[in-house]
Symmetry: C2
Subunit: 332 residues, 2 copies
């Protein structure tokens, strides 16, 4: 295992310390919890938005804390859900009285723990709603999931809901637009290599030198099939076609695109993938409003990528275009 | 070789196509050259700033094209300098009449080709200056370098010079502040794994399962020594101490920090590194004004990182803090 770490057991707390040291103008830690929140949380009168899940997906989620996106995020152990007390602590820390939306990726542990935290918060009169993101079209059920997995499309939910909350919308309105975003977002990924969870010390699955896995989850959960290596264009067309067919996205639709690196994939390759995504969409008459290319929802040092499309109506487009200022997502 | 590419020979042109498709609001391509420039280049009355070098270091350099940073960048083949005609085409495309600064990393090929391009441009009455960045404290001469190599500190030169040019400064003033930035910036890197240049198809060097290389260059050039794997804290302390001793940075100094990932290193690990950088600097009484953590100057899918410090005076601090809006570097 080649990693720039100290003790495998300490990676999350040391990472959070390094984040706060890097970004004190954005982030502060909540007491003894593995939660980071906006330095100015709670923001008076504003709905608070928190997210979280297992660590290892950085910059998700704490990298998206700041104006126009999240108010807080909990970091579980690597690929393992935060316990309810962390979600609860984050919810309490960001509640200004206007209530808190939890944006949760659809994994059993995250669902259970965030639900328990929501009940704990509500018992103290913090209004809590939850939106469960399930954008991954690859498989219907998976290792840690009933229903579809939540992957990189979650970032669009953060962005759109965050913009709505920044405009002063109510908890009901922010929740509704987060639900609408989830209903219009679809993603799918693929992997060339596995990754190593620090405390495990070995790869979480194996792939032959000539193999890749289509539909791989962000924790190494199995995808649709394991195939021989293929060209970037063929792989990209396969992912994009499956995503487009799912909603479906149609000629005349306007979309936002996210080409997301899983950790070890050079930006060069992500742009080569984006070239093909834009070609496939253009051929279908689907208009690209905005494109994001980079690492937004990773799997440690896994090599591979995911493609995400978000279908935009006037409201989603306006909210997506609003400014955001966070460590990992800045937009004028 | 596991890569998301089509033909190894096409990676640069396809990457550039994917970048323009992703960021048409920032970038356009210059005719048949592997150069991207600001979509609104040349900007009337403003000094143009270009950079460039071999590809494989993305987002450097084209990802830094936009308001407050670069006006253009040339992309050579992977780890290979752009030929003079590309640098020349970029210089011509961004010159508004106020002249052009070339920010060049200190590698023999880049020096030679950019110098020839500068002469070609000057023959057509384009005023050109060059600043050669040589921030890497690891080794004095290297595989492709006489003198120190230019690595991630180049990004600070882009940022500071770009801000100065945006303020309407003259070519002489922009050049002077770029020189001052280079004089105050120091970096050093390390690698855990090699990377694969697509047309070569195999790793550019080899490291044992238990080895890392300290002072590794961004093309896999040898560093200071090859050692056994060590903790993130020890590795970080070693890099930071060597950098601090070089300028030297002293108690009471104020610095900007860049913890740069080389490609395959998870953001989690970069933040763990930053935790230690901030501790080492605090213990020395060196104040951190601003910290950047992420991938700015990569080596394809190499695992490892570099640490960069920039000593700030009032002018550098003000220019560093100015806004920038580019695909890969945004700051409010």
């Amino acid at each position: 295992m080649k990693k720039l770490i100290n003790k495998p057991e300490a990676v999350v707390t040391e990472m959070l310390a390094g984040m706060v040291a890097a970004h004190p103008e954005y982030l502060r830690k909540v007491d003894e919890y593995n939660c980071l929140v906006r330095v100015d949380a709670p923001v008076a009168g504003k709905v608070g938005i928190i997210s979280g899940g297992g660590s290892g997906h950085e910059p998700a989620h704490a990298g998206f804390i700041g104006k126009g996106m999240l108010d807080g995020a909990c970091a579980g152990n690597v690929f393992s859900s935060p316990t309810p007390d962390h979600f609860y602590a984050a919810a309490k820390a960001v509640d200004s009285g206007a209530g808190v939306l939890m944006v949760i990726k659809n994994y059993s542990g995250d669902l259970m723990n965030s639900e328990m935290a929501a009940e704990m918060a509500e018992a103290e009169d913090v209004k809590v709603t939850r939106v469960i993101v399930n954008d991954d079209v690859a498989v219907e059920n998976s290792t840690w999931t009933t229903g579809r997995r939540g992957i990189a499309g979650t970032v669009f939910v953060h962005k759109v809901a965050g913009a709505k909350a920044a405009q002063g919308a109510s908890l009901e309105e922010v929740t509704a637009v987060a639900e609408k975003t989830n209903a219009n977002v679809r993603s799918m990924g693929m992997a060339l290599t596995p990754c190593i969870v620090p405390v495990a010390g070995k790869a979480n699955f194996s792939l032959g030198d000539n193999e890749m896995e289509i539909g791989m989850g962000i924790h190494g959960e199995p995808g649709i099939n394991r195939t021989c290596l293929d060209t970037a264009d063929n792989v990209t067309a396969l992912l994009t076609e499956k995503i487009v067919a799912d909603l479906p996205y149609q000629a005349g639709d306007e979309v936002a695109v996210l080409v997301n690196g899983l950790g070890a994939t050079p930006l060069m390759e992500l742009y080569i993938v984006n070239r093909k995504v834009s070609e496939v969409l253009a051929a279908k008459g689907i208009k690209v409003h905005k494109t994001y290319v980079g690492e937004y929802m990773t799997s440690l040092e896994m090599a591979g990528c995911s493609v995400t499309l978000l279908k935009l109506d006037a409201e989603l487009k306006e909210l997506l275009d609003e400014p955001a200022d966070t460590p990992a997502f800045k937009q004028f």
